[in-house]
């Protein structure tokens, strides 16, 4: 199972999460987003970039509360809430945004 991008293949698991975080690129993000039916805007990219920065530091995606605070700072306080994140990523910011950002899927009771 893999994505094709610029003649290269990038492996993903049964659910479309890429298996090597290092093989991520903006091109792959666009391909995953398209498969998910998410039309990427600047706001989407802000979230994706924050997720990747946070992951690089902590080896896990940020908690939803951490993410909403970061979004409030970057995009304005009226957007710093879970509802807005669901508007951007209808399947849920935790999972769909992580998939597009090339991060592993959050597991557990979430």
């Amino acid at each position: 199972m893999s994505y094709e991008v610029n003649g290269k293949t990038v492996d993903h698991d049964e659910e479309g999460y890429i298996t090597e975080i290092g093989s991520w690129s903006e091109e792959i993000a666009k391909i995953i987003a398209q498969a998910e039916g998410v039309a990427m805007t600047d706001e989407h990219w802000e979230v994706i970039r924050f997720l990747r920065e946070y992951y690089n530091e902590y080896q896990i995606a940020p908690a939803v509360r951490v993410l909403t605070k970061a979004v409030a700072k970057k995009l304005g306080p009226e957007k710093g809430n879970n509802k807005y994140l669901y508007e951007l990523f209808p399947y849920g910011p935790g999972k769909q945004a992580c998939k597009i950002a090339g991060l592993p899927k959050p597991t557990g009771c979430v």
Partner: protein, 499 residues
């Protein structure tokens, strides 16, 4: 929105029995665990060559080990009492989701190899060979049981389908045919300390962020301590409480209650998980290993008490099995229950006048409660029978202006599973989860319609995530589901009357 049909809801909850839809859910299977998920648990990486022999060997071991399993497999008289009691049957119409039929998947093999009539007369007495088809059927339908034990409430013999489903999953794990969701998560607990895989530094960052938020919002310096040696209380809570909505509102509520009570407490980064998925896969060895992380954390941090956060099956494991799994707890303060539930802690504080709650902070909210299956049927709270039903309701009523119970056939010990329990809260089972939520959603819609209910409280991380995800399929807002301690968090008046 969905690639499957959303069930049509009935106006009258718990009365609508669906027509039979043979094999309606035969296609529903979770992802199979890969070698990297199985190895850390000591299970074979993939289906072993001599799987049939190994499966029967394991079944024989379990029958020797658990007398209950043999009794359950022997005693069914096919009376039909359970047939319309499973939420997955009610939501899908698939007859193999009738508890009796689910049990028969294992019972037929038990008969064939472990009873004299089955060995002699085979299919004449309902016995079946363990073939590849039977194994696939096990995998499919034992992952359509959330081990909620509602059916056992109605069984005149007390047969517990959950134990049969746990045994089946254990057998499959022992031949390398386990489920990815559960095994991947248990491996993360062994490696990192929680289901999410949230490492210590991320946990620390998350908790200090919450301290800032609460200080900003209330002006009170409420702490969220991590790994504090010598604290009185170790809080063991589902890692979803650190991560997800509406779970985190509950965590903030616990912290405010501890703050108000003036007790010292801490979270442990080593045992940063209340959940114990060892129960879902029927593995006493895994339950034991996961539970012992709590013991080690309690000893290392030299705490006097252990308090559990809002997590359904964790409370069953903690309340009913913790002493056997990880006891004795003689190093803890004997003046307090071991373990104690956060709802017991908070209601006790209210009764002693140690906290002031202001219902007007939750003005406009009309609450109902989803009794979580493992709390309702697998544990108790407080010091009287039924305390697990009384205390959560008492606490909610203290926080909100109005409370309404759902249909009596769907609450207390007859509560329906949320549809995502027992290791099924995974995206690859979304159709099952949506359909399995049908009986609960019917009862919820009824009180929304008739009594103006605006929110449904839950005391389980799985229920909260499940409802947040599936309620929108039924045109109910995802924010309808709230944490009980999320209500406490809003209503509590900080800085008043210390006990």
């Amino acid at each position: 929105m969905a690639k499957f049909e959303i069930p049509v809801l009935s106006e009258e909850p718990a009365e609508d029995v669906p027509g039979i839809a043979v094999n309606a859910m035969a296609h529903s299977r979770p992802f199979v665990a890969k070698p990297e998920h199985n190895a850390p648990l000591g299970f074979p990486g993939a289906l072993v060559d001599d799987w049939q022999e190994k499966a029967l060997g394991r079944m024989g071991d379990l029958l020797k080990r658990f007398r209950s399993l043999r009794v359950f497999l022997d005693s069914c008289v096919k009376c039909g009492s359970c047939a319309d009691k499973c939420h997955y049957f009610l939501g899908t119409g698939d007859p193999k989701n009738m508890p009796v039929a689910r049990q028969d998947l294992l019972r037929s093999v038990y008969r064939r190899y472990f009873t004299l009539p089955g060995k002699m007369f085979g299919s004449l007495v309902g016995a079946r060979d363990l073939t590849q088809d039977v194994l696939e059927e096990w995998y499919t339908y034992f992952h359509q049981c959330s081990q909620c034990r509602r059916c056992s409430v109605f069984c005149p013999y007390g047969i517990d389908t959950a134990e049969i489903s746990m045994a089946a999953r254990d057998i499959m794990d022992h031949i390398g045919y386990g489920q990815k969701y559960c095994n991947e998560i248990i491996a993360k607990v062994h490696k990192i300390g929680n289901n999410l895989g949230l490492p210590g530094p991320a946990l620390s960052n998350t908790l200090s962020g919450l301290e800032e938020d609460v200080l900003d919002q209330t002006g009170h310096d409420v702490k969220f301590p991590l790994d504090v040696e010598g604290a009185d209380i170790l809080l063991v809570t589902p890692s979803a409480d650190f991560f997800a909505e509406p779970h985190v509102d509950g965590l903030i509520g616990y912290a405010k209650v501890f703050h108000q009570a003036g007790v010292s407490w801490t979270v442990s980064s080593y045992a940063s998980e209340a959940a114990n998925f060892g129960m879902f896969i029927g593995s006493y060895e895994q339950m034991h290993k996961v539970s012992n992380r709590i013991r080690k954390a309690a000893q290392d941090l030299k705490v006097k008490r252990i308090v559990f956060g809002e997590c359904g099956h964790a409370w069953r494991v903690a309340y009913s099995f913790l002493n056997t799994l990880a006891g004795p707890w003689d190093f803890l303060d004997p003046n307090y229950p071991v373990p104690q539930h956060i709802i017991e802690f908070t209601t006790d504080l209210i009764r002693r006048g140690g906290v002031t709650l202001d219902k007007s902070a939750n003005a406009g909210m009309v609450l109902t409660l989803h009794d979580s299956c493992n709390v309702a049927r697998g544990a108790r709270m407080g010091d009287q029978p039924g305390g697990q039903f009384v205390l959560p309701r008492e606490l909610i009523k203290a926080c909100v202006p109005k409370y309404v119970d759902m249909h009596p056939e769907t609450t207390h010990d007859k509560t329906f599973c949320c549809g995502g329990g027992g290791g099924l809260l995974t995206d690859d089972l979304m159709e099952l989860r949506v359909k399995g939520a049908k009986p609960r959603v019917e009862a919820l819609k009824q009180v929304m319609r008739n009594d103006g209910v605006t929110h449904m409280a839950s005391l389980c991380a799985i229920c909260k995530s499940q409802f947040t995800k599936v309620l929108p399929y039924y045109d109910i807002d995802m924010e309808t589901v709230v944490s009980i301690h999320g209500l406490v968090s809003k209503a509590i008046r900080l800085g008043t009357n210390h006990v």
